[in-house]
């Protein structure tokens, strides 16, 4: 019940954020150079053709009419059609291929990071000033300072090329297709999905892994110094239980925040990794559509990213409230 009210409030806030993003990207069209008609019309088109195109795209109305239509359409989930490929629905184009692909990559990278980073950070903090700690610190320093494009290229060069069965340069199947095939009795697609996903997720996740390792280590060290840890030991709680149930749990609070923010940026912003691996994700699509002045698509992508961002943040806030009960009181 408590969580329900909390969630409701967050969803209400989120709607405002999405509306804001939608408005800003709409207004952006009027202050950026280049327009869809010029991009679409043949170079030798006369005024008549241009006027017809403008009418067809709905750009001849006054701004406030356009804005009103745009927002009311959005409210019923109608993102319109692309301004370049006129009969192609924006939502279909973005969501069912590009968005899912980026989301899968972002989530895989995050999971990879969590699975590696948190145990590494815990070990590093508990065995401070031992070779294990020094190696973990060295790794995280390296991970933070390695640029993605270089790491991606090196992984292709040093792993994908010699090993052979790890493909690069083409996008693989989507997870929902793979799972569908699995239930239909063909596990091969899932194997393909894993093969295709491995290197991009590793590339995208390395910085993230390094960051969380450091955060976990320093957070744990800070928590271990607190008086309640001594109290746990005094009551005879096993050390491992003290570490995981008390210390790590409190360390997770700041980590969850960073995780959420980072995952949000990864969805729309993994352009470099997507380019290196020809991943055909949302970031790449955005750049391509901006070059084509395809404004309905640009609007759609920005709004989808905004929705993804606020959803993740809401989930983070809920987790946060679960981890630290004091949050709920405010």
């Amino acid at each position: 019940m408590q969580y329900g009210r909390f969630l409701l409030r967050r969803v209400f806030h989120s709607l405002f954020v999405i509306w804001g993003a939608a408005t800003v990207v709409f207004l952006l069209r009027f202050i950026t150079p280049g327009d869809p008609v010029t991009a679409l019309a043949p170079p030798d088109a006369g005024d008549e053709v241009r006027a017809a195109l403008e009418r067809r795209l709905g750009l001849d109305d006054p701004i406030h009419v356009q804005y009103f239509e745009y927002i009311t359409d959005l409210m019923v989930g109608d993102f319109g059609n692309s301004m370049e490929v006129l009969d192609r629905s924006v939502l279909d184009w973005i969501f069912w291929t590009r968005f899912l692909r980026s989301l899968e990559l972002a989530i895989s990278a995050t999971i990879l990071a969590i699975v590696i980073a948190i145990p590494l950070g815990v070990v590093s903090a508990r065995r401070r000033h031992t070779p294990a700690d020094y190696s973990a610190t060295l790794f995280s320093l390296g991970g933070i300072s390695t640029p993605n494009f270089w790491l991606g290229l090196m992984l292709i060069l040093l792993i994908a090329v010699p090993v052979g069965f790890i493909p690069t340069g083409t996008p693989g199947p989507l997870l929902h297709e793979a799972v569908g095939d699995l239930f239909a009795g063909d596990p091969g697609t899932l194997g393909d999905w894993l093969r295709f996903m491995f290197l991009p997720a590793l590339t995208l996740g390395t910085y993230f892994t390094a960051l969380i390792t450091r955060l976990t280590r320093s957070g744990m060290l800070e928590e271990i110094g607190k008086a309640y840890v001594k109290a746990c030991r005094a009551k005879g709680l096993p050390e491992t239980l003290t570490m995981y149930r008390h210390v790590l749990r409190n360390t997770l609070i700041p980590i969850v925040t960073i995780l959420g923010l980072q995952l949000g940026t990864l969805i729309g912003g993994a352009i470099i990794t997507e380019t290196v691996f020809e991943w055909n994700g949302l970031g790449q699509l955005l750049i391509e559509r901006i070059n084509a002045r395809d404004w309905t698509m640009i609007q759609g992508i920005v709004i989808i990213i905004a929705i993804g961002f606020v959803t993740i943040n809401t989930v983070v806030d809920l987790l946060y409230a679960y981890l630290d009960p004091r949050v709920m009181e405010e």
């Binding site: 005094a234 005879g236 995981y244 609070i253 630290d324 004091r326």
Partner: protein, 392 residues
């Protein structure tokens, strides 16, 4: 004197910091008899808290107990140790030396025989777990220890690896049983918390300081300890609350017959609670004895100074007489080879430039003082000239 339950011999704890070696506790020895309240009093930085932590082996890096033993009477354990190794140095009669036990044995004792109350209740509870659960954890530890003593001494304390992993990783799978939770509510009731069932589901930040200190006492009782170490249990509380907490502590101590080691800087608390007292200064016991010995016949000028600097109602027109100077540095290289108190002592003599051993003093059998005045009367003719320590 009866058989002591706790016998501390020559306990020495040092901190190895970057500034140098700090001698926080230096050769401390004392006995505690079953059921009594033994007080340790001293100024801030005299090493009394570190002594408390050394007793329960909770001294943390860079600190380390470097010498001495803590003998604890536990006949069953002593017999078992001797069975495993007849020539062991860790058992002596019915006593076992906590310092020579292996880590798991020692940790197992911490949950079951020793409990500790800390100074600041607000920071001694985990802020994100309910008070009831935290107390129930202590009950659970005790429960597992009595159900299966051998397993508790293993690394995972009778959890089984699989159960241990699932309870550690999945927060909804709880390793604290319902019975332990019920017991935690009972304990909260025992220490005088109203409406214990609903308070148990609250978080530490929803408690007041006094209530939380009560909860901490409940947590300490959960383990049904033989020895309770209370490190400044009332220092962080309001005066009115202090009195309540001391009453609760006194009642429970009498009811459960717990042996208590009470650390405080407050002589009023000592006078009210303790049977015997040790006075700490610069990491050493400068005087120890019964309550009467210390309050009626103090032998060490430092004890006299402490008494003189605390207010009392019956001589209201008397001015308080603070001890001049500051607590000395405990840094090894700065510690002189003389009586550590000599530079602040109003009765310092040339003899005091040699470090005094412990002397028997007048009064009860166990009254001892680390001062030549316990042996000889003060001779003003032998006094060190005023300002002697200023130049050096």
């Amino acid at each position: 004197m009866g058989e002591p339950i706790l016998r501390v011999e020559d306990l020495t704890t040092r901190f190895f910091t970057e500034e140098g070696q700090i001698n926080a506790v230096e050769g401390v020895s004392f006995d505690v008899e079953p059921g009594e309240v033994f007080g340790i009093v001293g100024e801030s930085g005299s090493g009394k808290s570190v002594t408390a932590l050394s007793l329960v082996d909770l001294v943390e890096s860079p600190g380390r107990i470097t010498n001495g033993s803590v003998w604890f009477r536990e006949p069953a354990l002593a017999a078992r140790i001797r069975e495993d190794d007849p020539d062991t140095a860790a058992a002596d009669g019915e006593m076992v030396d906590l310092r020579r036990l292996d880590d798991n044995e020692r940790r197992a004792l911490r949950g079951t025989e020793f409990a500790m109350i800390f100074q600041d209740p607000m920071s001694s509870f985990n802020p994100s777990i309910t008070v009831g659960t935290q107390i129930a954890e202590a009950v659970e530890v005790q429960r597992r220890a009595t159900a299966n003593p051998r397993a508790v001494r293993s690394r995972t304390q009778g959890f089984g690896l699989l159960k241990f992993l699932t309870t550690s990783m999945v927060p909804t799978v709880d390793y604290v049983s319902e019975e332990s939770r019920d017991r935690a509510v009972e304990l909260l009731d025992t220490v005088g918390i109203p409406d214990p069932a609903s308070r148990a589901t609250e978080y530490p930040h929803q408690f007041s300081g006094g209530m939380l200190q009560r909860a901490m006492i409940a947590q300490a009782l959960a383990t049904e300890p033989s020895v309770l170490v209370a490190d400044e249990p009332t220092t962080a509380l309001d005066v009115t609350i202090q009195a309540q907490i001391l009453n609760t502590l006194g009642d429970l101590q009498a009811e459960y017959g717990m042996t208590t080691v009470l650390i405080t800087h407050n002589l009023g608390v000592i006078a009210r609670m303790c049977d015997r007292v040790g006075v700490m200064y610069a990491g050493e016991f400068v005087e120890r004895g019964s309550l009467e010995d210390l309050f009626e016949r103090p032998s060490h000028p430092y004890t006299e100074g402490l008494l003189g600097s605390s207010p009392a109602l019956d001589n209201g027109d008397r001015r308080l007489q603070p001890i001049a100077g500051n607590v000395p540095s405990l840094l090894d290289e700065e510690m002189p080879d003389r009586c550590y108190f000599a530079d602040r002592c109003p009765k310092a003599m040339s003899e005091c430039l040699d470090k005094p051993p412990e002397f028997d003093a007048d009064g009860s059998e166990g009254h001892r003082a680390r001062c030549y005045l316990a042996r000889d009367a003060y001779d003003p003719g032998d006094a060190l000239p005023e300002g002697y320590f200023d130049e050096s």
